[in-house]
């Protein structure tokens, strides 16, 4: 496979995954604000914290302030910035636009079904319909985007043979997902005390639940943990669960599988494979208590550093030949 094509495929799924995440985070934030404004009398929606936190997760708070000036974060403005603002390269429109542009340049490799899905989504976002739906009901719009992105993943799963093409798409998707989960955890846990006992206030429960919602994990978690939303359980679930498709451990394992499938013909392991293997075994064998002893924040930034290194090494091994 051409290196350029491999790189395109890898980025297509990274962008789609990220767009889906932005949609989910905004959707959760939107609902959380509705809840919070009812519960917390001290801050009646003056500072739209949950939606503003999405800016931090995506590391584009500075960009927002450059565009809109510092000071109060207007909820409406943040929502627009992250959905339809073409000038913001982290917006849903910009990311799906790039995913589609990459897919256009590699449409002969991915299946027609998968390409048509991205193309249709792109035209939908360019048209009036998307803006109308957003104006009517942001959650409906956001859920539509989420579904469209998941449909793309499904089409990839259902139509592509398990060749390098498929594995580069998987690699991008899962690496991005692992990265996003760790960022969500870092930002959302920032305000909450790490490890120690937690005051059981209604607002806190809302926050922990929203963390689960942000990773599409709420219902799956409850099935496993029998409706105890406690911080340690949540953290353990989102980082270490071997079965849940949006846990860091699950995603890292998938990355490793795909990378091994790609490298199969080569007979030599790349540096990327070594880094991934190391992260994978750490997540397999670590004692959950150790995460809290080390400090959750430090642990998560370790994961993010590893993901970045792995991304760089993948570029070195396959895209710069």
């Amino acid at each position: 496979m051409l290196s350029r094509v491999a790189e395109n495929l890898y980025w297509i799924s990274r962008y789609v995954e990220r767009a889906e995440n932005v949609a989910r985070l905004l959707d959760v934030g939107f609902h959380l604000e509705l809840d919070a404004s009812g519960l917390d009398g001290d801050a009646p929606g003056a500072d739209p914290a949950p939606i503003a936190s999405v800016l931090s997760i995506l590391a584009c708070r500075d960009a927002f302030e450059r565009a809109h000036g510092p000071g109060r974060l207007d909820r409406e403005a943040v929502m627009r910035f992250l959905t339809f603002d073409r000038g913001n390269d982290q917006s849903i429109v910009a990311m799906l636009g790039r995913a589609r542009e990459n897919a256009r340049a590699t449409q002969e490799t991915i299946s027609a079904e998968a390409w048509h899905q991205l193309n249709r989504l792109h035209f939908y976002l360019q048209g009036k319909k998307a803006r109308r739906r957003f104006a009517d009901s942001p959650p409906r719009f956001l859920q539509g985007i989420k579904r469209a992105c998941i449909l793309f993943d499904g089409l990839v799963d259902g139509t592509l043979p398990r060749t390098e093409i498929y594995h580069f798409l998987q690699l991008g998707r899962h690496l991005e997902r692992a990265n996003q989960i760790s960022r969500i955890l870092s930002v959302k846990l920032h305000g909450l005390r790490e490890g120690g006992p937690v005051v059981e206030s209604p607002l806190r429960i809302v926050h922990w639940s929203s963390l689960l919602w942000s990773c599409a994990a709420y219902e799956a978690y409850l099935r496993d943990y029998h409706d105890r939303v406690d911080p340690e359980g949540v953290v353990r679930y989102l980082i270490l669960d071997p079965e849940f498709p949006r846990s860091i451990r699950f995603c890292v394992s998938r990355c490793l599988e795909s990378l091994r499938a790609i490298a199969a013909g080569d007979g030599f392991g790349s540096e990327a494979e070594r880094c991934l293997g190391r992260l994978d075994s750490e997540l397999h064998y670590i004692d959950p208590a150790e995460i809290f002893e080390r400090g959750l924040g430090r642990f998560l930034s370790g994961v993010q550093d590893a993901c970045n290194t792995i991304g760089d090494e993948i570029h070195q091994a396959y895209f710069f030949t």
């Binding site: 496979m1 290196s3 350029r4 449409q107 048509h116 013909g265 396959y318 030949t321």
Partner: protein, 493 residues
């Protein structure tokens, strides 16, 4: 019993003019069009419009677009698609097919001769200065042997029909003609939209085009290479025909490469893959000669590959089409093609040219200048409907401008009588109206010469317009070459 449905309005506004593809006279449907005509009448305007919209949506979602430049960024458009197919009868097609095979065989021999012995120039059948001064002439190719002596592997020969219905060759395209992907996609869309029509007609299939193209490309692989690696070379995603490049690569199951994916090493061309360099043996290149290799042609080309021509020269790389084929489709050379056919094949041309005047000949020049208001004047090195004067539609100022240009550069222009192209029923706002059409069949030249059954019918959508180019608002139709005999099966409506 059903009474006559009210939808017969489809043809109410239909006016005959010139040669009409469907009607021999008022109310007289040509025999090979009868089944289609009756089916259209039964479908009615609403249903036809509905399916037309469905076709547009299908094409847009599938990314069957081309890029229009001019505004800040390229805008992607679909080429307007007309749902009324164009039909060609078996006997009409036989003649077209024979004529095209003859023409392409002669053009191949001509290009070979021009870059080698030059018999035709020495025998003064074609003036030397015309060839050596042609913008498509590449002196780098003099004496260069190309694989199997094939130059024009893929050509698109534009045909039109005059008022008597005679097919004439308007233009040869021997470099990188595009449009074949629309032919294949149009057919696919039509099958989805009008399955019944297909059941009612006996239509020659066209799906084998990409298989045949791949066979042609493998045929020109370097000697000694059993399984040549073929790739399609595209200028990239911003090229207006990018959809076609990617479509052809997908259908042939080969890589679609850009110049930056390739490099030259030890006499051979390689692709950069995730497993390191992989050899490339044959390129179906969709980049113009000038941009292929910055070491040989334009040094500022970002699209090409340094060393590509070196690999071609030593026979380690097959190229389709060959370099320098532009001498054959030069508009200045066009008037000589009938003579070229006679010279090499000792046969009379089956498909005539359009009568053409050359300003270099004093008598012709006088005729041109005196009759500019009736003629079409074309710049020899322009294409796509640019650089043209259509006499009957021109202003006195435009005519004066062209008269001056012709006097300054007689080699740069040709003139032809304005031919009213044949017209074909075309959907225009719930009605069928006559619109002018041409036909671009595609010819493949490998071990044998094969013509795709049909081709791209382009239709000039504005009323009265004679310009069918997509860059000038032209649309396309599916083109059906009918086989003799009844359809394989027929069904009740």
């Amino acid at each position: 019993m059903a009474t006559t449905p009210p939808q017969t309005r489809l043809f109410d506004r239909y006016a005959l003019a010139g040669y009409d593809e469907m009607f021999a006279g008022p109310g007289q449907v040509r025999p090979h069009y009868r089944a289609l005509h009756d089916r259209l009448v039964r479908l009615g305007p609403e249903e036809l419009e509905h399916r037309h919209r469905a076709a547009d949506l299908m094409m847009r979602n599938q990314g069957i677009t081309f890029t229009v430049y001019g505004r800040e960024q390229g805008v992607e458009r679909i080429i307007p698609f007309d749902p009324v197919p164009r039909l060609i009868s078996p006997s009409e097609w036989d003649r077209i097919e024979q004529g095209l095979i003859q023409r392409v065989r002669a053009l191949n021999l001509f290009i070979h001769d021009v870059y080698h012995e030059r018999h035709i120039l020495r025998d003064r059948v074609v003036p030397s200065e015309l060839i050596l001064g042609a913008s498509g002439y590449r002196r780098e190719c003099v004496g260069l042997r190309v694989p199997r002596d094939i130059y024009v592997h893929v050509s698109g020969i534009d045909l039109i029909r005059d008022a008597d219905g005679t097919f004439l060759v308007l233009e040869d395209n021997c470099r990188t003609p595009s449009g074949v992907s629309y032919v294949l996609k149009n057919r696919q869309v039509m099958k989805q939209l009008f399955p019944l029509l297909f059941a009612e007609h006996n239509i020659r299939p066209i799906d084998d085009y990409t298989t045949n193209l791949l066979a042609v490309l493998r045929h020109i692989g370097p000697p000694g290479v059993d399984e040549p690696v073929v790739a399609v070379l595209t200028p990239g995603v911003y090229n207006s025909a990018y959809f076609e490049h990617s479509f052809l690569a997908r259908r042939m199951g080969v890589e679609l490469v850009e110049g930056r994916d390739l490099f030259f090493d030890s006499g051979q061309l390689f692709m950069r893959t995730i497993r390191g360099p992989q050899r490339v043996d044959v390129l179906y290149r969709r980049i113009d000669d000038d941009f292929l290799d910055p070491m040989t042609f334009r040094p500022d080309s970002q699209l090409g590959v340094p060393g590509l021509v070196a690999a071609y020269r030593t026979g380690r790389l097959g190229l389709a089409n060959a370099i320098g084929t532009g001498v054959a489709d030069d508009k200045g050379v066009y008037p000589f093609v009938p003579e070229i056919i006679r010279y090499y094949l000792k046969e009379d041309p089956i498909l005539p040219n359009v009568e053409t005047f050359r300003p270099q000949i004093p008598a012709h020049r006088q005729h041109i200048l005196a009759n500019l208001h009736q003629l079409v004047v074309k710049a020899v090195d322009a294409s796509g409907g640019y650089g043209m004067l259509i006499g009957p539609a021109s202003t006195a100022e435009q005519r004066a401008e062209f008269a001056r240009r012709i006097a300054d550069n007689p080699r740069g222009y040709i003139a032809q009588p304005t031919i009213t192209l044949s017209q074909h029923p075309t959907l225009v706002d719930h009605h069928l109206e006559g619109r002018h059409v041409d036909l671009r069949p595609f010819v493949l030249c490998g071990e044998t010469v094969k013509v795709l059954a049909g081709g791209l019918t382009r239709v000039a959508l504005p009323r009265g317009s004679l310009v069918v180019n997509s860059s000038q608002g032209g649309g396309t139709k599916d083109t059906w070459v009918l086989r003799a005999g009844p359809p394989k099966r027929s069904e009740a409506p």
